[in-house]
């Protein structure tokens, strides 16, 4: 065989396909990728240390900035951790409201993630706008309840900051009427696309055993065929009351991650339907009135609580020393840990596939660099 020389190339940090400021140092042999080293830290702001300086409530808006697509889910995970630590009860209505917001987040995240990924494949803007269109409608709902489109800062310890009203429920039902048709359209647009089939099938294969060893979570893990979903494995909030399936892939390639995301959006829709049906009336309240939000103090100890964020397992590990702010505050960020599998997923494929594989992991740099 002809001997060829290997070449090192930088992809990023400023590159539209790296979803933020992320740098990959790739070694290629011709067009084939030999090695990949991810380089982090361009967005590092020592979020965890800020969490040790802030009081518990002050830190809530900071969690919005982790995964800025799903601030509702971040708030939920953080509130749950502090509630576990301080032993706070959450009214049932608040649990349902949180579930509704989480599932809306999942739909908007998956829709845009797939849009961005098709953009990476060369279907520039069309698919992305399809995702963004639905996202806009959901963001309007978020704005109505929380006052902000993306940085929602919506959860409080023991509930949520504002109740949802009849207008919200009517509008949500209207929005949901269009969703099944939207999923069908999206699926039809993608599954019959020659570009997608050629660029996604048998690309970036991550076998089941490797996926587990790499600690990946979320659609990446389920795409590899492991039916692990925290909503089922360790139900939180009121997820044990809903009927839904955990979609899994078979091969573990980019295409499977696609299919899992589409199927998950449909399951989220089912959960939304059931949650709206079961939503308790406002008599129980939407927040625990006994909790002193501003001056909350947690007894010394530690707590870890996790939720199934659209990107994977989002958990907060908080150690308290009995004061009003955390002694140690650690974020288990799904995008960050999913990235550890990137090099293995890319090896042996061409350099053009790297961008697609990275898109299929669905990373957010706010959470990776923290």
């Amino acid at each position: 065989m002809l001997k060829t020389e290997e070449l090192q190339i930088n992809i990023g940090p400023q590159h539209p396909s790296t979803h933020g400021v992320f740098r990959m140092l790739v070694t290629v042999d011709g067009e084939t990728l030999v090695d990949l080293k991810p380089v982090f830290g361009y967005l590092h702001r020592n979020h965890e240390q800020l969490g040790e300086v802030n009081t518990y409530l002050q830190n809530m808006p900071f969690t919005d900035r982790l995964d800025y697509f799903n601030s509702m889910v971040n708030n939920h995970a953080y509130a749950r951790t502090v509630e576990t630590l301080a032993g706070v009860e959450v009214p049932e209505r608040a649990q349902y409201i949180r579930v509704i917001m989480d599932e809306l987040s999942r739909i908007l995240n998956h829709a845009t993630a797939m849009g961005f990924m098709l953009g990476d494949m060369g279907a520039w803007q069309t698919a992305l706008l399809w995702g963004m269109r639905e996202r806009e409608k959901i963001l309007d709902m978020f704005e109505y309840v929380s006052g902000a489109r993306m940085m929602c800062n919506y959860c409080r310890f023991g509930g949520v900051v504002r109740d949802i009203d009849d207008w919200f429920i009517t509008e949500l039902k209207k929005l949901m009427q269009g969703l099944p048709h939207y999923f069908d359209d999206f699926e039809g647009l993608l599954l019959n696309s020659e570009i997608l089939l050629a660029r996604a099938r048998n690309i970036g294969v991550l076998p089941k055993e490797l996926a587990l060893a790499y600690s990946v979570t979320g659609p990446v893990l389920r795409g590899s065929g492991v039916a692990y979903d925290i909503r089922k494995a360790e139900p939180y909030a009121v997820y044990d009351r809903f009927k839904f399936k955990v979609p899994v892939g078979t091969v573990g390639d980019v295409y499977d991650r696609f299919l899992v995301r589409i199927a998950e959006m449909r399951e989220s829709y089912k959960i939304l339907e059931q949650a709206l049906e079961q939503l308790p009336d406002a008599t129980g309240g939407f927040i625990n009135p006994k909790v002193k939000q501003q001056s909350l103090k947690a007894p010394a100890g530690e707590a870890y609580a996790r939720v199934e964020s659209p990107k994977g397992e989002l958990g907060f590990y908080v150690v308290s020393d009995g004061t009003g702010s955390a002694y140690r505050y650690k974020v288990r960020a799904p995008s960050f840990i999913n990235l550890s599998a990137l090099a293995d997923m890319c090896k042996g494929y061409t350099i053009a596939d790297v961008v697609v594989i990275l898109g299929s992991i669905d990373i957010v740099m706010g959470e990776v660099d923290r």
């Binding site: 080293k37 830290g41 240390q49 600690s215 103090k297 870890y304």
Partner: protein
């Protein structure tokens, strides 16, 4: 392959692998923090505290014997007043779900003591998290393929998440603290 109840791992390790438990802590067996004054950290012994050099053995033990094959999270905590850095490893049973299994390692804060064998050769998912613990807390992981700083730049001195790292005044910004 069964889920372990809270704190069960300690007694199992005592009978099956008696040499791995860290003898400095196995007398306390604290699960709940007692009432302490404000600003007092407590060391919890939830599940098990093992010797640093035994962490690889214990990780394989819980994986092969009980199916805790999913190493989800590695957290380093600096307990300055106790003079130790604690690493918390959280394992999950991917097949059966359920809550996590926490295995702890407690090491000293000096460079000679702050060493824990790496889990990356078997659990490549630990790669980035161990690099983070090295970058922020200065824990050295022998056996790690690429133990470099991850968030801070390579020339950076010190470990910024340690509790005794000065919050104000550094040579990069030329601002002096109070």
């Amino acid at each position: 392959m069964a889920l372990l109840a809270r704190g069960e791992l300690r007694s199992i390790l005592q009978t099956e692998l008696p040499n791995v438990l860290d003898s400095r802590w196995d007398t306390q067996a604290t699960d709940q923090a007692e009432a302490h004054g404000e600003g007092q950290t407590v060391l919890l012994d939830f599940d098990a505290v093992v010797k640093a050099e035994a962490i690889v053995e214990v990780a394989h033990f819980v994986r092969d014997k009980f199916g805790y094959d999913f190493l989800s999270n590695i957290t380093a905590v600096d307990y300055l007043k106790h003079g130790i850095i604690e690493l918390v490893y959280q394992f999950y049973n991917a097949a059966e779900g359920g809550p996590d299994l926490r295995v702890r390692v407690r090491i000293g804060r000096s460079p000679e003591e702050c060493i824990v064998p790496s889990l990356t050769p078997t659990w490549p998912g630990a790669d980035l998290q161990e690099r983070e613990a090295y970058d922020m807390y200065g824990v050295v992981f022998p056996g790690h393929p690429n133990l470099a700083r991850i968030y801070m730049w390579d020339e950076f001195k010190g470990f910024p998440m340690r509790k005794d790292f000065p919050k104000t005044g550094d040579k990069y910004t030329h601002v002096t603290g109070e």
